[in-house]
């Protein structure tokens, strides 16, 4: 599963723009992944300019 580290996030929206599944919700200073929609494609991880998105410890199933 992919996770966004909220304490490090700048809320820039880069990941939201590249997400093919519309699976990221971004408010003013609040961001989260809508899990049922996420396909773990990792495009958000690659696009994050400041490295705050990652696969969490459980990894991809």
């Amino acid at each position: 599963m992919i996770e966004i580290l909220p304490d490090k996030c700048d809320f820039c929206g880069c990941c939201v723009g590249v997400c093919p599944e519309d699976a990221i919700e971004l408010k003013e200073a609040e961001i989260f992944i809508i899990d049922p929609r996420c396909t773990n494609c990792a495009k958000c991880i690659w696009s994050c300019p400041i490295e705050v998105i990652r696969f969490n410890k459980e990894g991809v199933t």
């Binding site: 880069c14 590249v18 300019p49």
Partner: protein, 388 residues
Amino acid sequence: MKNEYDIIVVGAGPAGSMAARFAAEQGLSVLMLEKDRDVGYPVRCGEAISKKGVEEFIPSDEKWITAHINKFSMNSPDGTEVIIEFDDEGYVLERRIFDYELAKIAAIAGTEILTRAYVNGLLFNNGKVSGVKYEFRGEQKEAKGKIVIAADGVESRVGRWAGLKTHIDFREMECCAQITASNISVDKNTCYFFFGEDVSPGGYFWIFPKGSDIANIGLGVSGIVGKKRSALSFLNQFMDKHHPNSPVLTSIAGGVPCSVTLDKISAPGIMLVGDAARQVNPLSGGGIASGMIGGSIAGKIAGEAIKMNKLDHIFSYDKEWHNRIGKRHEIYNRIKVGIYKFSDDKFNKIAHSFTKVPYEKRTLGRLFTTALWNQPSLLIDVAKVFIV
């Protein structure tokens, strides 16, 4: 506050404010919703723009101009510097004041503005977009609008909800990191660009002055590069090497969609403008001027459609945008794709041959022509750029 408007604009950046202004100036009721608490902040931009791009819509005002630009310094990987002087002035803006000013003009024209209003859904009527759902200070609300104009930026989701394909291919996303740093000694009238594998592969690194000892320093890399290495790590490397003791006043991330405009930027009851429509100049990554143009066209057409009581009229927006700017962006995009493939060696060779061009004959057009000399197909594209 009403809950029914002629036009609802989502997002109060330059494109949104222009759309609101051009619609409101036709006497229509307009509501503009901004998710952040301040219009103009946080800034996610290098802030450079041409004077021409600004003055089409607003007279120049020193209160939002931090630097007047008349030179470009292009730097190849081996450190060869090519300086190009130009007559058309450019600016480095203070976006937080500039955006605020544009929103104020929209407000004076009659636009109602609400900040901290987060749009989280659309209303539909017979398959046509008929308004928005939004969260405002913890309360879920709705507002009806005959036309919704989505100016919700690079992270645009409003268009998706209306069935438009707005998500951007990660390879075309320039992932950017930027700081505004002090104690930077650069010429206050020069914008600096650096190219090469070491500083910004598949993009460029910039230093844009915001006065005599302060500058925006940043870079963009394609999502392809981001797979291996982030924009932030390139920025840190550059600062450690060149400006290790410069205090940082602002530190931001951002995404710039560097592609052609979306195939469709209107659908029943909805129009897309600015970054949301992918109206950024794909070669330079500049989106303020083109976003304002997109917004103004959309606002004008939306107003006409409502006054004529002919909502299908909004579909003419796609063509008007294409003729005015969109087709030019298609050419810029082809040039971008060509330049992105350049090796360090090629950048160096171009710089070396260009330094032989007499100073007074150096133009950006000539630089691109030199750059693309070995790629005739792209040369034709370049020629088109400077003819249109």
